[in-house]
Symmetry: C14
Subunit: 88 residues, 14 copies
């Protein structure tokens, strides 16, 4: 195989595995936060507003971690800066 073929091949595999692994625990963390929010809502319905605000900020923070992973995967798939060393 040519060098380029090897790099295409392994980059594809790495991207697939990285996104699969990278959404795992953020999903679990979201599930935990949401389930706790639901429990808090059932216990203190009158403080729904502050619960919802905290939940949304929290989900955004966790989502940001998954986004880091997605961004790196997209960089690898669409515009890998390391390939410039080879294409020169």
């Amino acid at each position: 195989m040519t060098d380029m073929s090897w790099i295409v091949l392994t980059s594809t595999v790495a991207a697939a595995l990285a996104i699969a692994l990278g959404v795992m625990l953020p999903a679990l963390a979201m599930g935990r936060a949401i389930s706790q929010a639901l429990e808090s809502l059932a216990r203190q319905p009158e403080s729904e507003r502050s619960i919802m605000r905290t939940l949304f900020i929290g989900l955004a923070m966790i989502e940001s971690l998954a986004i880091y992973c997605l961004v790196i995967v997209l960089i690898i798939l669409f515009r890998n800066p390391l390939l410039e060393y080879l294409l020169k």
Copy 2:
């Protein structure tokens, strides 16, 4: 094997494994959120509306993580941008 055959082969395997791994923990997280929603409903039936709204937002957030994974898998299967380096 030709280069292209190797890439087809490993991309297929990676896509299959990535989707299998990538739906695992989102499913678990959903199960957790739903089961907590059911418990909250049984404890506070009168706040059903806010529980359902929180649950749906939460499920959508978790689903989005699984969708990230599905999108990357579909990109790899149907239109892998890295293949352009080889087809040129």
Copy 3:
């Protein structure tokens, strides 16, 4: 072995493993949701309607994740788009 034989072989193995792994945690998540629904029914029999509705929506969401996995597996088995690069 010819290239095509290798691809058939690994695609078959990957499809089998992917469906086996991909139904694992959705099944667990369903079991969790159902068992919680049963507990809620025993604690609040009068809110059966809203419990059942929430449970069905939840099971459908989890099922959708397993369906993603099944769809990818069926695409690989019956009509793998990557094979077009080779058959051309």
Copy 4:
């Protein structure tokens, strides 16, 4: 070994492992749902009807996941669509 022999061999192994892995967690999930149903029955004997209905729907949903796995295994053993590429 001939190409066909390799494919027969690996398909057999993959089918055996896939069905073994694929029934694992659905079984666990069923055990969880059933044990919760039994506990609910002991706590609320008078709502037996709605408990049984929920349990049966739940078991059917979980069973469906194991059936997905069984179907893929049977497709691989009896009529693998990928083999047509080779038999042509």
Copy 5:
């Protein structure tokens, strides 16, 4: 080794491992269901009839999953449909 010898060898190993793995979690699930049934019996002796009925249906459902696994193993040992491609 001849092709047929390799296939006999790996099929035997796969069958042994598949049945060993495939009875693992159904056994655990049964143990869970039975132990819960015993606890429910101790707590509500008068609803023994409905507990036993639910337990038997549940055990049959779990047993069915182990049977799927056993059937696939027996098919592989006694009458593997894939072998027809080779014996022709």
Copy 6:
């Protein structure tokens, strides 16, 4: 090594590992059921009869799963049907 030697060797190893793995979780499940039966006996001594009946049925169901495994192992050791393809 001759073909037959390889098959004897791997069949022996597979049989030993399969029975070792196959009795693991049934043993655990039995331990769970028995320990729960003992707890129920201590809590409800007067319903000993129905507890013992449920326990025995349960142990028989779990034992059946271990027997499946033992039967497959004995078939492999004493009369492997796949060997007929080679002895012909």
Copy 7:
């Protein structure tokens, strides 16, 4: 190495590992049953008779699983039926 040497070697290793693995979880299950029996004795000293009877039946059932494993190991060490194919 001769064929026979390989088989002696692997059979010895397989026997040693199988017995080591095969006594693991039965031991754990026994420990669980015994510890529960001790707790039940402390809670209900007057029903010692039925507790002891249940415990002994349970330990015998679990022991039977370990015996299956021991029997297979002894068959492999002392009189492996598969060796007849080679000694003929």
Copy 8:
């Protein structure tokens, strides 16, 4: 393959895996902190201010750990100082 190709290939794979692994446990830790904040809000609505301040400081500390990982990954992808030894 040339030396540079190997380095590009492995750097890409390492970057993908490192970001996937590196966001895992920070995500879990955030989920834990957020879910506890939600519980505290439900129990002590009047101290919302100090709870939110502590939560934000905590999330920032955890996020900093994920950022360390992201920074190293970006250094590897965009400007790896070790490459200067080779490009000289």
Copy 9:
């Protein structure tokens, strides 16, 4: 290496690992039974006699499992019946 050397080597390794693995879980099970016995003694000092009798029978049963493992290891080290096939 001669055949005999290989067999001596692997038998030694297998014996060492088998005894190490084989005492693991029996030790854990004993620890569990003893700790429960101590708790029962503290709760019901007057039924010390029946607690001690049950504990000793239980420890003997668990010890028997470790003895199975020790016996197989000693057979392998001192008088392996399979070696007769080679020494003849």
Copy 10:
């Protein structure tokens, strides 16, 4: 590949994995400390001052561990003292 290329390659991979592994458990530990601080705040709002001081000291101690890891990774990437043996 030249010696230098191999060292660049493995150093890069090791740095990426080390930072990914090294932030994992500090993140988890921080999550634990923060979530406990939030619970303590909800239970004892009046001792906020001493809780915050303890939390900050604790987070600094845990952060120091992650910093050790980051420092070693940066040493490896930017100025590895072992390379002097080769560049001389």
Copy 11:
């Protein structure tokens, strides 16, 4: 390497690993028994005599399991009976 060198080498490694693995779980079991004894002492100081007697018998039983492992390791290091086959 000569045969004897290989055997010395692997025996040494196996002995080191076996003793390391073999003291693991007995240590854990002892820790469990001792910690329970301490709790029982705190709850029932007046039955110290019977608690200490039970604890000592239990520790001796667990220690015996670790001794089995130590004995096999010493046999392998100092006087391996299998070596006689080679020294003859």
Copy 12:
């Protein structure tokens, strides 16, 4: 590769992994100690002095373990005594 290159390479990798593994559990242990200190502060605000003193001694002890690891890593990176055998 020259001998020195191999040693530089593996020392670098080992140092990176060792520091990553070596800070893992000390971090977890610190998290546990700190979270317990926070809980104790909330329960007994008046004994803050003795809690803080115990916490600091404990954190110092745990930190010392991580320092052992860091020292060995720095010795390997900056002044490995074993290298003198080679440089002589």
Copy 13:
């Protein structure tokens, strides 16, 4: 490499790993025993004498297990009896 070099190399590695593995669980067991002793002291300060005596005997028993491991490691490092077969 000469035979002796191989043996020195593997013995060193085995000794390092064995001591690392062998102190793991004794340390955990000690931590458990000590933490329970501290809890008992807080609950029953007046029985400090018997608690301390039991704790010291227990720690000595657990320490003995770690000492077994240390002794075997020192035998391997300083005076391995198996080396006499080679030095003769």
Copy 14:
């Protein structure tokens, strides 16, 4: 590579891994003991003296286990007795 180079290389790696593994569980055990001491202090402030004495003895015992590991690592790095066989 020369023999000495191989030994230097593997000794360095083994030392790094051994110290990393060897401080793991002692750290966890310390964390457990300290957190329990903090809880006991909060529950029984007046018995601070005996709690601190027990904690210090316990930490010293656990530290001794980590020291065993450190000593073996330092012996391997600075003065490995096995090297005398080679330097002679």
